[in-house]
């Protein structure tokens, strides 16, 4: 079968989206491939399709458990049963049994820390690996958005697995990060495909407001005005909950909130409700959206400014996957960036905490105030690096902390300047990724934008809760 036939028969699509064909053909010609495709471009197809054309299993390394679960579920819903996810949530026996029968699986999803385990490497070595996929490959670079120290193991793991054909996928990596990906994955000869970060069907709008109190009123107006469904992003869990409630109290009954602090079961329900068109708006933190394949999201609103441009682009990328017009609106009040300064600081241990673990000789558990999981990972990772470099742990870790904070401040500032504007917004973000500007209609607020194009035509629906419980039961399980 040709790749088009596979595309249609297995996935039901008639044509590729930009970048998919190039990536797949590059892999099928046997070359290691680094592919940068914009969010919403259908990255997973780039390894799922070759999986059916190559002999052996496809190993996918994925940074987030929830993302992994989403991908596994999507494959299963499509009818693919030969899927397994190996992660720390698996019980000892489950893992052993999976490792014994690893060759039964076409798709093997792994969290990076699994590759630390000798028995996992051993089991992987015993099977034939058609393709080694590194999803969200920018996580490997400390200069990338969302750095994950465990990704540093991947180069060594690839070598241990006999240098299998490799695909590194990312939506967001500038030249520096891409170079880092090649180096850290120990890839010498790589075909690099970089596709535009631009999503022409998403119009870019930024609204400057004078004070925070204006925001909720403006948000309500927007949600009442805009075509649904949409996602509203917040920097904090509490504000996501508050505003979801506010919207509900003001007639937007089909709205809900979503954040990482909710129970897994509740998160899943909100995700399903949104996918099934039972919700018009989700007020969410950045935890929402990664693995969700919803095609018809018509707007993304940022109630708070994101931490940096890469995060912003990832999040607005959830709009308009169907190629139809969609709009992204960022609400900004001067000083919004302060929140991220605070968040950034709290991601790393402070100097005193670093001192306690290094010079003070405290164990990680005894540090006061107690370390968060992220802070602990940071300390463990860089203590090791310092030892490798034979440098003082305290000085080294402190320097790294300062360098990373400075980098984040730089990134924050880049986004702030972009918000404050001047010239075309699209051209400005494209230039960050060394792309040339493009002229298009409905580009951005600075080029001129007809907002009425995004106006909803039908009134918002209400919850249809007004049926008797007997009817509800009958709808659920038709009797007789």
């Amino acid at each position: 079968m040709t790749i088009e036939e596979h595309l249609y028969r297995t996935f039901g699509f008639l044509s590729f989206r930009p970048g998919q064909r190039e990536t797949i053909e590059s892999l099928l010609s046997g070359r290691h491939t680094l592919s940068m495709l914009p969010t919403g471009a259908g990255k997973s197809l780039c390894y799922q399709l070759p999986a059916y054309m190559l002999n052996g299993s496809v190993v996918v390394v994925s940074p987030l458990l929830s993302l992994m679960q989403d991908q596994v579920e999507q494959l299963k819903v499509r009818g693919e049963k030969r899927v397994i996810a190996l992660n720390s949530f698996l019980h000892y026996e489950e893992k052993n049994s999976a490792l014994m029968h690893l060759d039964h699986y076409k798709f093997i999803f792994l969290s990076p820390e699994m590759l630390r385990m000798p028995n996992v490497i051993q089991a992987l070595r015993a099977i034939s690996i058609a393709l080694f996929v590194v999803d969200e490959a920018h996580c490997i670079s400390q200069w990338g958005y969302d750095f994950r120290p465990d990704y540093g193991l991947l180069g060594k793991a690839r070598a241990a697995l006999g240098n299998p054909l490799t695909l590194a996928l990312t939506a967001t990596a500038d030249q520096k990060v891409r170079a880092d990906i090649r180096e850290k994955l120990w890839l010498d000869d790589v075909a690099e495909w970089v596709f535009s970060v631009n999503r022409p069907n998403i119009s870019i709008d930024v609204e400057l407001l004078e004070e925070p109190l204006q925001k909720r009123k403006r948000l309500l107006e927007l949600v009442q005005f805009l075509k649904i469904p949409g996602i509203i992003y917040f920097s904090g869990r509490k504000s996501a909950e508050e505003l979801a409630r506010y919207l509900q109290q003001h007639g937007i009954s089909r709205s809900a909130f979503y954040h990482g602090g909710m129970e897994a079961g509740d998160r899943l329900l909100i995700q399903h409700q949104f996918l099934n068109g039972e919700l018009d708006v989700v007020c969410a933190t950045s935890a929402f959206g990664m693995g969700i394949n919803k095609e018809n999201v018509r707007f993304v609103i940022h109630y708070h400014m994101p931490a940096q441009m890469e995060a912003y682009l990832q999040e607005i990328g959830r709009a308009g996957r169907d190629g139809e017009p969609a709009i992204s609106i960022l609400l900004y009040v001067p000083g919004d960036e302060k929140l991220h300064e605070f968040i950034a600081e709290s991601e790393f241990p402070d100097e005193e905490q670093i001192r306690q673990v290094t010079e003070g000789g405290s164990s990680l558990r005894d540090v006061h105030p107690p370390l968060s999981e992220t802070q602990e990972r940071f300390l463990v990772h860089y203590a090791k690096t310092a030892d490798d470099k034979k440098e003082s742990r305290y000085t080294f870790i402190k320097q790294i902390r300062e360098a990373l904070l400075e980098k984040k401040a730089g990134k924050r500032n880049e986004l702030k300047q972009w918000i404050e504007g001047g010239g075309c917004r699209r051209a400005a973000y494209m230039s960050i990724f060394n792309e040339k500007p493009r002229v298009q209609n409905q580009c951005c607020d600075l080029c001129g934008l007809d907002r009425s194009l995004f106006k909803k035509s039908t009134p918002t629906k209400e919850f249809s809760g007004q049926i008797s419980w007997q009817e509800r039961l009958n709808l659920l399980l038709p009797g007789n």
Binding site: V77, N276, R472
Partner: protein, 347 residues
């Protein structure tokens, strides 16, 4: 007043200053310590055992502070008494919600979540089968529940065409026999064309304060399970959902004595000491109880994870023999493995 506050006040009133407020916290969370289990029975608070597993210590502390400030509690922080005003509040609150007579935390806290999880998935699968809709995402990601339901559906293959209407009839029957509004449960189910609501959403739709909804939901669920247990022949499908979760019948006198001590909240070692028997003998009794008593929970003696591990190991080598299982499960004691086998033997 929030329902949870009324429940906490009621519990503090039963305790009457003989324990600290944190004992109420542990009871609501369902802590498996001898002290908490003993408290549950000593103060006749066993129905509330593990009835608010979502509770956090800081939220609980805040709640206590609020009850003090409102003048419903008095005394020192570690020794609190409900005031007359507080008692009026309790009465008013329970007058509105009822006293949750079917709530049975001690007996059902282990059973109810798993039963509900299976029921949710069975309803979803059967609903989609009935509508011939094959693409949907399962309501739970719990692999064990998924596997269990898969087997359940497989075994029901002969009745596939009537499954939906049979399940409909059974649910209708149990919902009519429980005391709360049936939507407390029904809104939580996913099926073809409708997704289940979260706790929060259901409370909003039913216009209830959130913790009130939670206790009504739990009350309804416990009542349903008791109906299913008592009238199993009327609701065979629902009764099958309890397979492997609960167990039933006669004991040796010695085991009965041990049971009485355990019921008071003693640990295996304490019972051994009191009765002047070896620990191994008491363990035998516990296993006997697990085999025979339908309401006996093995949970205080083995965690859910460890239990699941034994079950999986048993499935993979098809064995009931102890030694091979023990070899496979180096972190388990023989006692733990026997307990799970005992429970399985009732299924």
């Amino acid at each position: 007043m929030r329902c949870l506050e009324a429940v906490v006040l009621l519990m503090l009133d039963e305790i009457g200053g003989e324990r600290t407020p944190s004992s109420v916290f542990h009871l609501l969370k369902g802590k498996k310590s001898a002290q908490t289990i003993q408290d549950a029975h000593l103060f006749k608070l066993d129905k509330w055992f593990q009835s608010a597993p979502f509770l956090q210590m800081d939220v609980f502390d805040e709640l206590i502070r609020h009850l003090q400030e409102a003048g419903w509690l008095e005394g020192e922080r570690q020794r609190l008494f409900v005031t007359t005003k507080g008692r009026d509040e309790i009465a008013a609150a329970f007058n509105q919600t009822g006293s949750f007579p079917f709530l049975s935390g001690w007996k059902l806290a282990g059973t109810a979540p798993l039963f509900f999880s299976r029921l949710q998935l069975v309803v979803q699968v059967v609903s989609h089968l009935a509508y011939k809709d094959r693409t949907y995402y399962p309501i739970t990601r719990d692999e064990q529940v998924q596997q269990w339901v898969k087997q359940f559906i497989k075994k029901s293959a002969s009745e596939k065409d009537t499954l939906a209407s049979q399940l409909h009839q059974e649910l209708l029957s149990v919902l009519e026999q429980q005391p709360e509004h049936p939507d407390c449960l029904l809104l939580r189910f996913s099926g073809h064309g409708q997704t289940g609501k979260t706790v929060e959403q259901t409370a909003d739709i039913l216009q209830m304060e959130r913790t009130e909804y939670w206790f009504r939901f739990l009350h309804s669920l416990h009542a349903v399970i008791q109906v299913v247990m008592e009238k199993s022949e009327d609701v065979p499908l629902l009764h099958r959902l309890l397979n492997g979760i609960t167990v039933s019948v006669p004991l040796t006198d010695s085991a009965r004595k041990t049971a009485a001590y355990l019921h008071k909240g003693m640990t295996v070692d304490q019972v051994a000491a009191v009765r002047g028997l070896k620990r191994a003998t008491i363990e035998d009794h516990v296993v006997e109880l697990a085999i025979n008593d339908p309401h006996f929970s093995i949970r205080p003696f083995i965690s859910e994870q460890k239990e699941a591990a034994v079950r999986r190991a048993g499935q993979s080598n098809g064995g009931r023999q102890l030694k091979p299982l023990k070899d496979q499960l180096p972190d388990h004691s023989y006692f733990e493995i026997r307990l799970v086998l005992a429970k399985e033997s009732r299924e």
